[in-house]
């Protein structure tokens, strides 16, 4: 092939590539549907988190709601700058999807409500929560925020629920800086391609759909036990958190995904205890960090719907955490009585929880805020 021919071939290839890229971007612009979770990104230090300074729409089941984050990558009422230090007293909430407030506009979440109340007391509330956080991530993120970014806070409130048992086991093999946190939006280039390139989006969607279908099948078996199945967008999010978890046998076991029953079933108690021990270790580390920085640590435990129906405010899970907190000198808050009391449990379930879901609706969040407001001082 002559030089002229080679040049011609190269130019043709280049032109085809440009045309392909152009078409790909145009098709992407026209056909790629809006993503309601592109702001959920992986993080090499603490597994996953939220993109900073986001103004977006989020979805939880059929619920679409506004989603904003501040410069610290915390969910907030608006995109805004939070200084690392403040003259005011600062309380940082660290929790999972309940504390992130999935499905709910931020002002109506318990964190949003407490934030408003705290203004009158010259106190700031920051919310470092995100879906599927658990003690390991609270520690890793807490360590990063306090030691690497220089964030200063006076109190940390960790909110715990039964899902932490499973998350702790799932994140056990995650090593900061060493493990790929998996399928979240990764680098800026990847995120750009996901949003703009039709071919990249299509191939990625095929892969994700296959994985969601597989998870869906496993969860269908669980549905036969519990009678409910999360929405597909929730399943899609749920499966992402297991990308670093390599125990296929457990993953394919429907019981593993029914974490709310672990502490009540003899054959699953061992798994529950494993999750608890991991949780204790990580909160122990967080407590140590707080002691070093003179930060007050509080830990609360809240119930899922299924636990509301069981009607036990001092179940094995609550008592395990209470005892741990006592031994570590951590302030313990039992949130179960906010939902398990003289009121009719089905009334509570229907008025305080999102339909068919273990997450609070606006009324549930209002209840939590009402219970916690006495700790803002």
């Amino acid at each position: 092939m002559s030089l002229k021919d080679k040049r011609f071939a190269l130019l043709t290839l280049l032109l085809l590539a440009v045309v392909f890229a152009g078409l790909d971007l145009i098709l992407g612009f026209m056909l790629i549907p809006e993503s309601y979770s592109s702001f959920r990104i992986k993080n090499k230090i603490y597994h996953h988190g939220l993109e900073k300074n986001v103004s977006a729409e989020a979805a939880w089941g059929p619920l679409i709601y506004n989603f904003y984050t501040n410069n610290l990558s915390f969910r907030d009422e608006a995109v805004r700058d939070i200084p690392l230090r403040s003259e005011k007293k600062r309380i940082m909430i660290m929790g999972d999807s309940h504390s992130e407030g999935v499905g709910i506009e931020y002002p109506y979440t318990f964190a949003g409500r407490l934030q408003k109340l705290a203004v009158n007391k010259d106190i700031e509330i920051l919310n470092a929560s995100a879906v599927s956080y658990s003690p390991k991530i609270h520690y890793l993120k807490g360590d990063y925020l306090l030691n690497k970014t220089g964030l200063e806070v006076d109190e940390i409130w960790v909110t715990i629920d039964i899902s932490d048992l499973q998350n702790e086991i799932a994140y056990q093999s995650f090593q900061p800086g060493k493990t790929d946190a998996g399928g979240f939006s990764g680098t800026s280039i990847k995120r750009f391609l996901q949003k703009r390139s039709f071919s990249y989006y299509t191939l990625d969607a095929i892969r994700k759909n296959k994985e969601t279908d597989s998870m869906n099948e496993t969860l269908l078996a669980l549905k036969n036990q519990t009678g409910s199945l999360p929405d597909r967008n929730a399943i899609g999010l749920y499966k992402e958190f297991f990308r670093t978890f390599d125990n296929e046998e457990l993953l394919k076991n429907p019981d593993f995904h029914g974490v709310s029953e672990w502490i009540y079933r003899t054959q699953l108690r061992e798994l529950a205890d494993e999750g608890l021990q991991l949780g204790f270790q990580n909160i122990g580390k967080l407590n140590q960090l707080c002691s070093e920085k003179n930060i007050r640590l509080r830990l609360s435990v809240h119930p899922w719907q299924s636990q509301v129906f069981k009607g036990d405010t001092t179940d094995y899970y609550v008592e395990s955490w209470r005892e741990f907190c006592r031994s570590e000198n951590i302030d313990f808050i039992n949130l179960y009585p906010a939902f398990i009391n003289e009121e009719n449990p089905l009334w509570i379930a229907k008025t305080c929880y999102i339909e068919g879901d273990n997450h609070w609706n606006e009324t549930g969040h209002e209840r939590v805020a009402g219970f916690l407001k006495k700790y803002i001082e």
């Binding site: 059929p62 679409i64 449990p345 009334w347 008025t351 999102i354 339909e355 606006e362 009324t363």
Partner: protein
């Protein structure tokens, strides 16, 4: 370009044809609503579907989000529906001043229901005995929250089996859900309890449940079962169920049988609905060619 109302309709049709789930339909409608927040038609349809699907709290807070916005008549109706359907009576007071006319009265009624709930919860808190559980169970029954009422009534019966108040309320709930086998089983356990059996309602409901059960198990033709069940229910004082059976019967029979038409007329007579009572009895007389005493009784109704 397709207009948003057509897109909404398309989604509703897809759901109706089982091409998408309810959740997917609501999600799609939610997107259209957010793109067209001032479109009243879309707002009303989306909000109603969300409320029916169990997301009443979300809808109430959509209205709370815009405290200065004036509410149309449809908005007030939707809000009242959301407060009632989602049992969010505690939120009624947040809309004081935004409702007017008859809707203001209904809003106050909703707020009043919340006050009653607080009262009954306090009663249970002070003394969680059978009587307190029964009273709250009865309150929930009157609110048409029968599944919630069931929990309190069951607890009341567990605490004091054969206590007449709870038994009666529970029996009513079961009868209204046509769970006649459960009624007979429950009441048979108390056959030896004089306090319960001497009450006027006990033999009426017990016998009704037994006879309806016996009809279910019989080999009689379906229409005859329905006819007899309707008669049993109306004579025992359960017109709603009787009407349901009667309508089923007429539908199965093509509205031609004068006995069935007369029965429907009798049921409406018992429900004090003169117009419909006269309609069905007149039709029965026309087909049979015979006059009935019932028509003159209906004519005398006010």
């Amino acid at each position: 370009m397709e207009n948003p109302e057509s897109k909404m309709q398309k989604l509703a049709n897809k759901y109706k044809n089982k091409e998408i789930s309810n959740s997917q339909m609501l999600f799609g409608m939610g997107k259209i609503f957010r793109e067209n927040p001032d479109n009243q038609v879309i707002r009303y349809e989306y909000f109603q579907k969300m409320i029916i699907s169990g997301y009443a709290s979300h809808i109430v807070h959509c209205y709370l989000d815009q405290p200065g916005k004036s509410l149309t008549v449809e908005d007030m109706e939707i809000l009242l529906f959301a407060l009632q359907e989602g049992n969010h009576y505690h939120l009624a007071e947040k809309f004081t001043g935004r409702f007017n006319g008859k809707y203001q009265a209904k809003l106050l009624e909703a707020a009043g229901i919340n006050d009653s709930l607080l009262y009954y919860n306090n009663l249970v808190k002070k003394n969680p005995d059978a009587e307190a559980m029964q009273k709250r169970g009865k309150f929930f029954t009157r609110l048409n929250a029968s599944d919630i009422a069931n929990i309190d009534l069951d607890k009341s019966i567990r605490l004091n089996p054969c206590n007449p108040g709870a038994l009666f309320e529970k029996a009513l709930l079961l009868i209204n859900n046509e769970k006649t086998k459960e009624v007979t089983e429950m009441l048979e356990k108390c056959n030896q309890n004089n306090e319960a059996t001497q009450l006027e309602w006990f033999p009426v409901i017990y016998n009704l449940a037994k006879e309806v059960e016996s009809l279910k198990k019989s080999n009689l033709p379906k229409k005859e079962i329905l006819f007899n069940q309707a008669n049993l229910y109306i004579n025992a004082g359960f017109p709603e169920i009787a009407l349901q059976k009667s309508k089923e019967l007429l539908k199965a029979d093509g509205n031609n049988n004068p006995d069935y038409l007369a029965l429907q007329g009798f049921i409406y007579f018992k429900m004090n609905n003169k117009e419909l009572a006269m309609h069905y009895v007149s039709e029965a007389e026309r087909i049979s060619g015979k006059k009935s005493k019932l028509s003159s009784m209906i004519a005398k109704m006010e």
